[in-house]
């Protein structure tokens, strides 16, 4: 099927730099939370490992309000369940979820 342009094709003043690669240790930032975010409460302040680099896109806090912005690199970050939940019984189990670049800092 011929690919046609998506409505509201994103303008970007250049892409934000991708700061991380697979294997890097990162911590999820706990930026102030109002109105909308896709960075989960349970992950904020927790450290994990970059499991994959996925795509570049607008951050959800911008896209949800039709704000134009820069495209950012998204990453899948893997956590030990024991680091997320104090009472988690198994050392082995993990959880992974996805964040744009700005939500992560080096751990």
């Amino acid at each position: 099927m011929k690919r046609t342009k998506a409505p509201h094709a994103r303008k970007s003043a250049g892409n934000a730099p991708a700061r991380f690669k697979v294997g890097d240790r990162v911590r999820v930032k706990d930026l102030p939370n109002m109105f909308y975010s896709r960075t989960q409460m349970y992950a904020r302040g927790v450290s994990g490992t970059i499991a994959a680099c996925t795509y570049q896109d607008l951050i959800p806090e911008d896209e949800a309000f039709n704000q134009e912005g820069r495209l950012e690199q998204y990453y899948i970050v893997r956590f030990r369940q024991k680091d997320l939940w104090e009472e988690y019984p198994s050392e082995k189990d993990t959880l992974q979820t996805e964040f744009p670049d700005r939500w992560l800092e080096p751990a």
Partner: protein, 141 residues
Amino acid sequence: MSQRSELRQQYEIIGSLQPAIHTPQNWNYEIPSALYRAYMHPPHDVGGQRDVPVHYEEKEEEQWELNTYVTCEVLAWRGVWNAEERRRRADNDLGYTLYLGMPYYGRWIWAAARMLVDKNHISLTELLEKIAEVKSRYEAH
């Protein structure tokens, strides 16, 4: 959250925010910072909140639900909104009572209606008159 104790406290407070059918009027001039944080918390972020085992079930899809899904997707296809805006509206903007109380696709169609009015594609009066007119089509003869 760097302290897991703060996360625990947030879960406690958020877990106690239940849809209120009636509450006595309560003038708060100040609220603790932890309560402020809980109030600001986007309702859709539920991962890790406590809940009980239930009997999970499937549901046969209603015609209106399929129509709703298609309407919402087609509105995005034609550039009126995007799916992220839909999620913001249908999963957060309507507040806890409607978020936890309305049917899944009920939130979708509510969000589409609200968006059309917010963005001045239709007036609220137009929407209300149309609803009344649709209802009148189904009145008993």
